[in-house]
Structure formats: structure tokens, C-alpha cells
């Protein structure tokens, strides 16, 4: 088990190294960063001085090693537009994004699993068919459109919820949270739904399909032949078997929830990393873009690792194979 975890961790470091190369190469190929920093009429001597102070005149391998060593300590250089360390900027914005992503995922998991189980068990009811139809909409409508529609309905027409921003936030150390104030919670609702809707429909369809599949298996038939109650069969035996693929998908989707939050954050002017990234792209703020790339891939790699380990917790068969392989 430990060897398995270690092996996966080494693979994860390999992936991060590759991403680091890509992030670093952005500095080289997205134009001369000096031009972004200095004004148009800066003399060449001053430009050279800035270049030297930033270490941009060193050979490329030296620069790469330095960048990578710094990145490993969460130092990503200084933002061209804000003149602040990128890590400070990211740290400021991260709580907003993570809170949004977690709320969206919880919303997607809870409603997705409930709707999926319901539509598998009561396949022919009107409500189940309605869920199917809604899920089709959720899968095919683009995120920004859903966000704008929600804003139009609940913020502009009904005036129930704020149309943008995070509301009041409370500081807990370096972490800022909107979960403790009413306005913060209200501000979370629409962005979470917008961000989570796609995942919700995905999970719902997955749960429904898996559940129908599991209900046809021999062990469910045998469970019925043993006279177990319908509830025990559906929620004990069938649901647990259904959840294995759901954990994978939901886990892997958490990474894309964070990546997709760029759009949601833009629509709702949510002060998170995604919004920071969009602004960085507009201003060719390469340190932020590179750092964002590294952050997102770190999150993806970590999630993959966690999902792999979670698997073995849920499925005893994998525990055995993992144990044997080590």
C-alpha cells in the first residue's frame, strides 16, 4: 500500500516536471517580458539593467532550474501588471475559487446522486423523465449562458440574489471565507449552481446508468432471493457498487471544476484565481499565467492521486491486487 502510494507520487512529480517545462517555455515564446514591464521609450541601457536584475540574461537552462526551484517553493516571480509577488496574488484569490469549487461539487454530487438514484429506481415516473430532460439541457447549454440566464432571472428580474461578487467575507488567518455571512452565502448560490450544473448532470446520468447496470447483476438477484428488504438492496448493495465509478468521475471532475471556474468567475465577477487568470491573459502577464498553469496541474495531479488511493479504500478487490503487486 505504501509502495503503491509512493510509486504514484513519483509519477505525479514527473507530470509536474513536464508541466513546469511548458510553463517555463511561455516566458521564452510569448514575447519579450521586458517589453511588458518597461514603457516604450525606455533606453536600451535601462532595459538591459532590468533584464539583468530579473536574471533574464542568464543561459536558458540556468533560468529553467532557477524557475523550477522557485516554483517548488511556491515562488512564481513578480506580476508585471500588479508589481506584486504572484504567489501573494494567488493566495489572496485561492480561497474564493476553492470555496466556489467545493460548493459547486457538493451541489453536483448531492443532487446528481439523488436524481440519478431516483431516475434509476423509478424509471417510468414523470419526475424521472423530467430529470432526464433537465440533464440534457445541463449538458448541452454552455456555462456562461446558464450564468447569464440565472443572473437575469434571480438578480435582475426577481432581485433575490446579488448579480456579482462574493458579498461580505470574513478573514480567518490568510483564508477569507464567504460562508459565514448571509450576503456571502447568497452570493455563492448562483455561481455554485452555474459551475456545478454540468457536473451534476454528468453524475446524474452516470449514477442512473450504473445503478441500472448493477440492479441487473447476479448478486442483486441473489440479494432479492435472500429476502432482503428493497431498501437494503437498493441503498446498501446497489448504491455502494454504483459509487465506485462515480467517485472517479467526480474526483477527476473536481479538477475541471476549478479549471472551468474561469468562465463562471468571469460571468459573476468572482474574485478568484480564474478571474485573475483572465485578466493576466488580457495583459500578457506571463508569471501569473505560468503560475496558474502550474497550480491547476498540481490540483489535477493531486486529485488523481487521491482518487487512486480512495479506490482501494472502497473496493477491497483492488486492495488485494495492490497488495500483491507490491
Amino acid at each position: 500500500m505504501l509502495a503503491f502510494t509512493l510509486r504514484r507520487a513519483v509519477q505525479a512529480i514527473g507530470v509536474m516536471f513536464a508541466v513546469g517545462i511548458i510553463a517555463f517555455s511561455m516566458f521564452r515564446f510569448a514575447g519579450d517580458p521586458i517589453n511588458q514591464i518597461v514603457s516604450l521609450d525606455t533606453p536600451a541601457a535601462e532595459r538591459a539593467a532590468v533584464r539583468k536584475s530579473l536574471g533574464l540574461d542568464d543561459p536558458v537552462p540556468v533560468q529553467f532550474v532557477r524557475y523550477f526551484a522557485d516554483a517548488a517553493q511556491f515562488k512564481f516571480g513578480v506580476s508585471y501588471q500588479f508589481r506584486q509577488p504572484v504567489s501573494t496574488l494567488l493566495m489572496e484569490r485561492m480561497p474564493a475559487t476553492l470555496e466556489l469549487a467545493i460548493c459547486a461539487t457538493v451541489f453536483a454530487m448531492v443532487s446528481g446522486i439523488l436524481m440519478g438514484v431516483y431516475s434509476a429506481l423509478r424509471r417510468d415516473t414523470l419526475l424521472a423523465k423530467l430529470f432526464q430532460a433537465v440533464s440534457l439541457i445541463g449538458i448541452s447549454l454552455p456555462t456562461f449562458l446558464i450564468g447569464i440566464l440565472l443572473i437575469y432571472l434571480f438578480a435582475v428580474t426577481l432581485g433575490w440574489l446579488p448579480s456579482f461578487g462574493r458579498g461580505e467575507v470574513v478573514k480567518l488567518g490568510w483564508w477569507t471565507t464567504g460562508l459565514l455571512t448571509l450576503s456571502g452565502l447568497k452570493a455563492l448560490i448562483m455561481p455554485s449552481i452555474t459551475l456545478g450544473l454540468f457536473q451534476m448532470t454528468l453524475i446524474m446520468r452516470l449514477v442512473r446508468a450504473e445503478m441500472l447496470e448493477v440492479l441487473r447483476t447476479d448478486y442483486i438477484r441473489f440479494a432479492r432471493a435472500r429476502g432482503l428488504t428493497t431498501r437494503a438492496i437498493h441503498f446498501g448493495h446497489a448504491l455502494k457498487n454504483t459509487l465506485i465509478p462515480v467517485i472517479t468521475v467526480a474526483g477527476l471532475q473536481f479538477g475541471s471544476v476549478i479549471a472551468f471556474s474561469i468562465i463562471t468567475e468571469t460571468v459573476f465577477q468572482w474574485p478568484g484565481m480564474g478571474l485573475l487568470f483572465v485578466q493576466a491573459v488580457q495583459n500578457v502577464d506571463i508569471p501569473i499565467m505560468a503560475a496558474y498553469l502550474l497550480m491547476v496541474s498540481l490540483i489535477f495531479v493531486t486529485i488523481n492521486l487521491v482518487v487512486d488511493i480512495l479506490y482501494t479504500v472502497v473496493d477491497p478487490r483492488l486492495r488485494a491486487t495492490v497488495g500483491r503487486a507490491t
Partner: protein, 328 residues
């Protein structure tokens, strides 16, 4: 004579399909007495498994019991409400399925599945149920049951898993066990162990057993009486020695002729020409008539009803002309 544990009368099972209703079981009747093993043989699709599922009330839509009666120790069970039937399943009727590899839920420990079943049917505490589960595992011949009870199904071999399945089927001391091809998925060497286990359990607890199989060797080994099924009907039923040594129905004769003997006479095994009709194309009259060497005009028009012949009962017109007394 006491009442039979299971009494099936004129059972009919139908499946609604797009091309009309298919009758999978058509007028099947049989009894199983306390402690008796009834073997049910026939080709694939003859309706053996469907009969078993009908008895335990697990015919799923689009199938349904269209007629007849099923009585368990006198109580009519074919028309019980689902919740009452659920209480009977597992408690008074146990069922063993064909494939032990897929019959157990892979995510739960063997003990959890046993304890869950025991506590569903018997009013026992967790610890008492666990003790009972260990006893059951010991009874079905699993070594070191107090250790194995915490194992997961994938940690057991096929034969051991089938023993666990049997333990699950008998954990509430049912009056009837339906074993649907319990040995088909197992090694030949393990088959014999499982068969003798089922036989022993039936004898020790006075449990009636309905043993569904297409393996004549298993039938001859394990059962007291045998029912030969063909195209949803019982062709012949009787004590196993009589049916094996002196089959009456031409189909039963064909089946017995197809059993290889160890004597080693190098005759070719007899083969029944043709194959069983599909449910959508059951011929008029006797459903066996197109394949029967003895078929005559009446067989093509009139459906034969079961006729008593000594200890056996046979559904064949060949025996209708001969008075029953002279054959005994």
C-alpha cells in the same frame, strides 16, 4: 402421507414480448415432500430455471405467472403481496444460483452478507447473528470459519464461494431450497462435493430441495425423484431409478440414451434429432412431435396430458391406449 412442502399445480408463466405473449411454462405440476430432492432436467430453455424463479416469486416483468397455483406447506404463495413474499424468500425458501463468482456482492465481507441476511429474517443480536454465521460456514465445510468470516468474496475459490452461497441460502433454515444449476460453473471435482453437501443438508434438516440442472449425472447422484421438462412442460416425472432405468417418454428415453457409460462399449451415443422449438413456434399437439420417432397422427393434433404409469407419470399418447393396470 403428510402434505408436500411444495406443491405446484398447473403453473403457467408468460412473457409479454413485442410479438405477442410467449408462454414459457405451460401447465407444470409437481410436488416435493419434506426432505426430498426433486431433480429437474431438460435442455436450455425448457423452463427449468423459470419454474424455480416462479416458485420463489422472482419472475420480473415482462414475465408473469399467468395461471396455476403454488403452495408452500399448504399456504398459497403465488399471489402474495410483494412484501409478504419477500419475508418468505430467504426465510422459508432459499435459492442457490448458478454462478458463485457473481452471486456475492464483491464489496461486502462474507460475514456482513450472512449477518445481514440472518438479521433480516431472525430476531437476533449482532453478536448472536455472527455466531450463527460462523456455525453456518462451518456447517457448509469452510475451514477456519471464525477467520474466513471476515474475508471478502474474492478471497474465496469458486467452490468455497458456492459453499458461502449455500450458507446464505440456508441461514434461516428454509423448508425448501431451490438450487438452480448449482454445480454448472464449478470444477468437476468440486461439483461432487457441492452435490453431497446439498444432499446432506437436505437430509439433516429435512429440507425439500428442487435441484435444477441439465446434468443427468448430478440428478442420478443426488435426487430422489426427477422431472424431465421439455418446452415448458413436464414430459415425465417419477422416482429417479425408475426414470433413469426405464424411461417412458420418447424424449426421456433420448436423454438417458445420451448418457455415456463407463462400461466402454464403443457404441455411438444416441442423439435426439433436431432441437427444441422456440417459444414463439411451439408446434400444435405434443410439442415434441417433430423430433419424435414414434409420433403418430394424434400427437400432431392433441396435447398429451400426464398419465400415471406405475410410480411414474408421463405425458405421451403412446401410453394412453394401453390400460394403466397392465403396465404396473
Amino acid at each position: 402421507m403428510t402434505d408436500p412442502i411444495l406443491s405446484v399445480r398447473n403453473l403457467q408463466v408468460e412473457f409479454a414480448s413485442r410479438r405477442g405473449t410467449l408462454r414459457a411454462i405451460d401447465g407444470v405440476s409437481f410436488d416435493i415432500a419434506k426432505g426430498e430432492v426433486l431433480g429437474v432436467v431438460g435442455e436450455s430453455g425448457a423452463g427449468k430455471s423459470v419454474t424455480g424463479l416462479a416458485v420463489i416469486g422472482l419472475i420480473d416483468p415482462p414475465g408473469r405467472i399467468a395461471g396455476g397455483e403454488i403452495r408452500l406447506a399448504g399456504l398459497r404463495i403465488d399471489n402474495l403481496p410483494p412484501e409478504e413474499m419477500r419475508r418468505i424468500r430467504g426465510k422459508r425458501i432459499g435459492m442457490i444460483f448458478q454462478d458463485p463468482l457473481t452471486s456475492l456482492n464483491p464489496l461486502y465481507r462474507v460475514g456482513d452478507q450472512l449477518i445481514e441476511t440472518i438479521r433480516t429474517h431472525l430476531n437476533l443480536s449482532e453478536t448472536a447473528a455472527r455466531r450463527r454465521a460462523i456455525d453456518l460456514l462451518a456447517e457448509v465445510g469452510i475451514p477456519a470459519p471464525e477467520k474466513r468470516i471476515d474475508g471478502y468474496p474474492h478471497e474465496f475459490s469458486g467452490g468455497m464461494r458456492q459453499r458461502v452461497v449455500i450458507a446464505l441460502a440456508i441461514c434461516a433454515e428454509p423448508e425448501l431450497i431451490i438450487a438452480d444449476e448449482p454445480t454448472t460453473a464449478l470444477d468437476v471435482s468440486v461439483q461432487a462435493q457441492i452435490i453431497s453437501l446439498i444432499k446432506r443438508l437436505g437430509r439433516d434438516h429435512g429440507t425439500a430441495v428442487m435441484l435444477v440442472t441439465h446434468d443427468m449425472g448430478v440428478i442420478a447422484e443426488a435426487s430422489d425423484r426427477v422431472a424431465v421438462m421439455y418446452a415448458g412442460r413436464v414430459a415425465e416425472i417419477g422416482p429417479v431409478q425408475d426414470v433413469v432405468r426405464n424411461p417412458l417418454h420418447p424424449y426421456a428415453k433420448g436423454l438417458m440414451g445420451a448418457i455415456p457409460t463407463l462400461a466402454g462399449d464403443d457404441k455411438r451415443l444416441v442423439q435426439i434429432p433436431g432441437s427444441m422449438p422456440r417459444l414463439s413456434a411451439i408446434p400444435r399437439g405434443c410439442s415434441f412431435n417433430p423430433r419424435c420417432a414414434f409420433a403418430f397422427d394424434r400427437c400432431r393434433v392433441e396435447r398429451p396430458e400426464p398419465l400415471p404409469r406405475g410410480t411414474q407419470s408421463v405425458a405421451c399418447h403412446l401410453y394412453d391406449s394401453v390400460p394403466a393396470e397392465s403396465a404396473a
